[in-house]
């Protein structure tokens, strides 16, 4: 039996694990963690086998479709893009589950935790495997719910419940845009078929969508006075979904709050996997983006800006996990930028971006797990209370430093020596340079360089404040158990060497996603449709460009060492409420006040909803008015019935007389 036929098991096994753990977990030791771990391990093996098979023959992708209802289908598609994602997700999930058995051992409800993470893994794998946009959306929403449940895992904490709600609602804004994009796409395709869709044609499947890109591009609508091509509209709406899910500006606000969940959840969902779904979506529909004028530019700008913007907030946070959260936002910005530069480098952008995605998954999961390890041991995540942790937790400290080096992208340009972050991040920055050359807009490149400096600054600030120096408060600490340190070590190894090992093969492999037996897309042709001029990427950038990221990263390291390691600069004057810049950064640009307090509470809740209430009372009042009218007129009319018989006689006589007159009049008139 060919391993492709088992592809469907990849999401199904964790889903089954969810059901089993949910119902039986409480009765098993350790919350039944063995069930999801086994299931995910099998999924990982299958994914790995399929990936290896695909590596040998990238054109033979796995594609299976079943009719769902109407002209929609359910199906799986494992092409190079999906394969690497699957392998990465199953692998990261597996390690984090193992880590969690240690981390969650003292929790009240470990079975619920493992059930929900298993469900999450299943949904995420389903998302990756989707061969049609609707199924992708479905899994997209399911991972959102799992995220909601897991952020609110300690729901008895009001802050956790609020953060969960905020996360769900903020991403929901993006989801609605995504859904709208699907709806527009559906309507366009439906019209192309004149409403009669032949059997066996599933109009939201990617092959069908990609085959109709030129026709969709030819449709225009006027929206708010602007003539917009439907392909641009759809891709921007999709990107709106990605912005929500992947925490891009301005919908990134939920991600730092999401750290209310257990740290393992942050590692799995809010660093390694779910938040990258937005990137995956753009990568998956890349042929549409490249055919859409302006869309990729928007992607590039938003990504670059987010990378920088999140970095500025990262340097002032005092919470261990929040720093990492802003770091994640920033890195996701890089990934988006990596896709955006597709305007210059074509399909290769997918390879670059996904490569960074995978590497980021390793080192960011590692960072979080290290932080988790610290929190698990020490019991606090305020960096101001830590310091010198390296002495009590040597393994954790070592892996943390490896992860930080990977994050900042340390490596020697021109050789294959370097951490994995080096290979992927530098590739993005270099492509951003090419993007500048090709389009004449240099802002994304400048942003990405500045962000690289900030990245280095905040991560080494974290390292120095947490692991070196003297303990600032009295905390008891110990190294974490093996179930936690082993996954740390494995991640650290990968963060160190994965990039170097696969750098050559990875990009070409993933970039081949769009030419195979399932879809056959000519990216160049589509790029002309979108008005992009692709450059042949030949590595002819100036030497400075190649070295620039390393230089700024080292600069960041040095500054952090001077300030936080040697403490030669007194930070007290800067770090104060009186410094307006610090205040602005520390308050996270007042987004919370604007989005939560003003827009959602004042405008939507108090404004619209209560206005609606008033209107509703109006309807109610109208109905009541009619009934009151009837009753009150009854009350007045009954006064005619005086009880005196002479009046009755008078009424009869008057009636007769009036009737004579009335009939006469009516008959004259008519």
């Amino acid at each position: 039996m060919a391993v492709e036929n088992l592809a469907f098991l990849i999401p199904v096994l964790p889903a089954l694990a969810f059901v089993l753990t949910f119902f039986l977990g409480k009765k098993l030791p350790n919350g039944g963690s063995i069930i999801p771990i086994t299931a995910i391990a099998i999924s990982f093996v299958i994914s790995l086998l399929i990936t290896l098979k695909l590596l040998a023959n990238p054109e033979e992708v796995v594609s299976q479709s079943y009719s769902w209802f109407a002209m929609l289908n359910i199906g799986i598609l494992v092409d190079p893009l999906a394969a690497v994602m699957l392998t990465m997700v199953t692998f990261a999930s597996l390690l984090i589950h193992i880590y969690s058995t240690g981390y969650m051992s003292h929790d009240k409800a470990p079975s619920r935790y493992f059930a929900e993470t298993a469900l999450f893994t299943a949904s995420m794998l389903g998302l990756i495997l989707s061969d049609n946009i609707l199924q992708l959306f479905i899994c997209w929403e399911l991972v959102g719910v799992c995220s909601y449940l897991l952020i609110g895992f300690w729901f008895e904490k009001p802050s956790a419940a609020t953060a969960a709600k905020k996360a769900f609602l903020t991403t929901r804004i993006g989801d609605v845009m995504f859904l709208t994009g699907i709806i527009v796409l559906f309507a366009d395709l439906y019209k192309m078929f004149n409403g009669t869709i032949p059997d066996g044609v599933f109009i939201l499947r990617f092959d069908e969508i990609f085959a109709h890109i030129p026709e969709i591009a030819a449709i225009n609508s006027t929206i708010l006075g602007m003539e917009v091509s439907h392909i641009t509209l759809i891709t921007l709406l999709f990107f709106g979904g990605a912005v929500g899910k992947s925490g891009q500006f301005p919908l990134h606000v939920w991600l730092p709050d999401a750290m209310e969940g257990p740290t393992t959840v942050s590692a799995l969902i809010h660093a390694a996997t779910m938040v990258t779904a937005g990137v995956y979506l753009v990568a998956r529909t890349f042929p549409m983006f490249i055919a859409a004028p302006d869309s990729l530019m928007v992607v590039a700008y938003v990504g670059a800006f987010t990378a920088l913007f999140a970095g500025t907030m990262g340097i002032v946070m005092n919470d261990l996990k929040r720093v990492l959260a802003y770091s994640t936002v920033s890195q996701l910005g890089y990934m988006m930028l990596g896709l955006g530069v597709g305007a210059a480098v074509g399909a290769e952008a997918v390879g670059i971006s996904i490569f960074h995605l995978v590497n980021h998954a390793f080192f960011k999961a590692l960072l979080f797990l290290c932080a988790g390890s610290v929190i698990h041991a020490v019991g606090t995540h305020d960096m101001r209370q830590l310091g010198g942790v390296a002495k009590v937790m040597p393994i954790t400290a070592a892996t943390m430093i490896i992860a930080s080096l990977a994050l900042t992208g340390m490596g020697i340009p021109g050789t294959s020596i370097g951490t994995s972050g080096f290979f992927s991040k530098d590739a993005i920055i270099e492509s951003a340079y090419l993007f500048g050359e090709s389009t004449g807009t240099w802002l994304p490149y400048l942003f990405s360089i500045a962000a690289a400096l900030l990245t280095s600054l905040y991560i080494f600030r974290l390292v120095f404040m947490t692991f070196y120096g003297k303990p600032r408060t009295d905390y008891g600490g110990h190294e974490s158990p093996a179930s936690m340190t082993i996954p740390l070590s494995i991640f650290a190894l990968l963060a160190l060497i994965f990039g170097g090992l696969t750098a050559e093969k990875f990009n070409t492999f993933v970039s081949e996603t769009f030419v195979n037996n399932f879809v056959h897309v000519d990216i160049h042709e589509l790029a002309t449709l979108g008005g992009y001029h692709l450059v042949e990427h030949a590595g002819h950038e100036p030497l400075l460009v190649l070295w620039m990221p390393l230089i700024v990263a080292l600069a960041g390291l040095v500054i952090a060492y001077l300030v936080y390691g040697l403490k030669i600069v007194n930070m007290d004057s800067l770090v104060s409420r009186n410094n307006p810049i610090y205040k602005l950064l520390y308050n996270r640009y007042y987004q919370n006040s604007i989005f939560t307090n003003f827009v959602s509470v004042k405008v939507i809740y108090e404004g619209f909803a209560f206005a609606g209430r008033a209107v509703d009372r109006g309807f109610d009042w109208t109905v009541k008015w009619f009934s009151d009218l009837a009753i009150e007129s009854g009350e007045s009319l009954r006064q005619f019935q005086t009880g005196a018989v002479q009046n009755y006689a008078t009424a009869v006589i008057t009636g007769v007389s009036l009737l004579v007159i009335l009939v006469k009049v009516v008959m004259e008139v008519l």
Binding site: G634, N647, A651, V656, V660, L670
Partner: protein, 482 residues
């Protein structure tokens, strides 16, 4: 002439006289037998009438005609009389004037039946007065009860006034056409068209019949009388003598004065709208159930009057059908009220208004059969499906639309919706408001009468075909003259 044609009337006359005579000679506590006798007489009459359905004949020098119309209305009257006599058995229990009660009731029924078969204004007038006189006396049957007397007094005075108006109207018609025979008038009525005399005659007759039908503004006596009279008598008035006004109006206007259609159609349109609206609105605020039913019966009269406006065979058939349904529904509702009144009075002899809606509190627990029957009656009056009331409205309202009187249908429909307000109130009191009173036993005769009425209401609502057929046949009799 075949005397068998008059078997129903004859059996009623015989029964009535027999009841009167026997009553003179037996002691009060055995007078129950009179009620059974009267009921038996009505049943016999009903049997004769039903078995002669479909015969057509004229008698007494063409002053009386037997046809589908007359037979149908006779059935209506006899059904009401049956309910009246059965429930009267309980009402008159221990009363020394029992024989008068039943005799008057039977004679009133005879009067109504003669109106139904009248083919001459003279017969019609005499029948009308016979029924009126008997019911005047019945309304004041409780001689010691101020309300009952007041009811009788008002009924009597307005009744005599109406009789005088009607007689004057008849005299003008006679003056213009030179005959009192209904077909004769129809043949000569063209002289009245467009003349002031014709208009005055029409309006005077309308006032005369409108008094019985209780059309606003000739209705003023009705709420007082229905409220003040014994409930059983109110049942006879609302369900029986009201229909007499309708059949009389049908004969005089639709057959005899069809030439003056333009005049009276307009007048009826005005009256119908005013009557149904007034009745429903005033009923909303009533606290006396009998008075509420009285106003509801104004409203129902308003609906039936729509048939005079629309004037298609279907509408007339609908009106006639409605008359039968209304007979069952309204008589039933009044009898249910009688049962409650009896219950209240047996608990507290001095109760001044035993039909107050507060006495209906928790009736569902206290008198389950009565409450359930009352629910059926009021839902039927409101026109909830599967009841006679719904079927009636269905035919009548739909025919209104058919002839293009959409505005009238809409007014009627809105009214019928308003009416739900007070009907639901009764149900609410019976089932939803708590009471701490005990369950009481329900008097058998009332129960029997109510069950008959319930069966009638549901049977007509469910198995309407024969009734619809005969109502349409009756309508054809009227339309024959058009």
């Amino acid at each position: 002439m075949d005397l068998m044609l008059f078997a129903p009337e004859i059996s009623l006359v015989v029964t009535g006289l027999a009841v009167l005579l026997i009553g003179l000679f037996i002691p009060t506590d055995s007078k129950k037998i009179l009620g059974y006798l009267a009921a038996l007489g009505v049943l016999v009459a009903l049997f004769f009438t039903v078995s002669s359905l479909g015969t057509e004949a004229t008698a007494f020098n063409d002053t009386v005609s037997i046809d589908a119309l007359s037979q149908f209305f006779k059935i209506v009257f006899l059904v009401v009389a049956l309910l009246f006599t059965i429930s009267g058995i309980k009402y008159t229990e221990g009363n020394s004037h029992t024989e008068e009660f039943f005799t008057l009731g039977l004679f009133a029924t005879i009067g109504m039946m003669f109106v139904a078969s009248a083919n001459d204004l003279m017969v019609l007038f005499v029948g009308f007065e016979l029924a009126s006189l008997a019911t005047y006396a019945l309304a004041g049957f409780e001689k010691k009860n101020a309300k009952s007397l007041e009811a009788a007094m008002k009924y009597f005075i307005i009744g005599s006034l109406s009789a005088a108006l009607m007689l004057l109207g008849i005299s003008y018609v006679y003056g213009a056409t030179g005959t009192t025979s209904i077909p004769g008038i129809a043949a000569n009525a063209s002289v009245l068209v467009g003349s002031p005399m014709g208009l005055v005659a029409v309006v005077l007759l309308m006032a005369g019949f409108g008094f019985k039908i209780a059309l606003v503004p000739f209705h003023m006596w009705a709420p007082d009388t229905y409220q003040g009279s014994p409930s059983v008598v109110s049942a006879l008035l609302a369900a029986g003598s009201k229909k007499m006004g309708i059949v009389a109006a049908l004969k005089v206007f639709v057959v005899a004065l069809i030439a003056l259609q333009a005049e009276w159609q307009t007048a009826f349109a005005i009256l119908a709208v005013i009557t149904m609206t007034y009745g429903n609105m005033v009923a909303l605020k009533q606290t006396s159930v009998k008075r509420m039913l009285a106003y509801s019966s104004l409203a129902q009269a308003g609906y039936i009057t729509m048939a005079f406006v629309v004037l298609t065979p279907m509408a007339l058939g609908g009106g006639i059908f409605y008359a039968l349904s209304h007979g069952f529904m309204k008589a039933g509702a009044f009898i249910a009220t009688a049962a409650v009144t009896y219950m209240v009075l047996s608990e507290n002899k001095d109760s001044t208004d035993p039909d107050h809606i507060d006495n209906f509190r928790g009736l569902g627990k206290r008198m389950p059969v009565t409450a359930l029957s009352m629910t059926v009656f009021v839902f039927a009056l409101a026109g909830i499906p599967l009841t006679a009331g719904y079927m009636s409205k269905f035919i009548l309202f739909s025919s209104t639309i058919q002839s293009g009187f959409v505005w009238l249908a809409i007014i009627a429909i809105l009214n019928s919706a308003i009416s739900l307000g007070y009907y639901a109130k009764i149900v609410k009191y019976m089932y939803f408001l708590p009471t701490d009173s005990e369950k009481v036993s329900e008097p058998l005769p009332y129960t029997v009468a109510m069950i008959i009425a319930v069966i009638g209401v549901l049977a007509i609502g469910f198995w309407s075909e024969p009734v619809v057929y005969w109502a349409m046949e009756a309508a054809k009799v009227l339309v024959g003259g058009m």
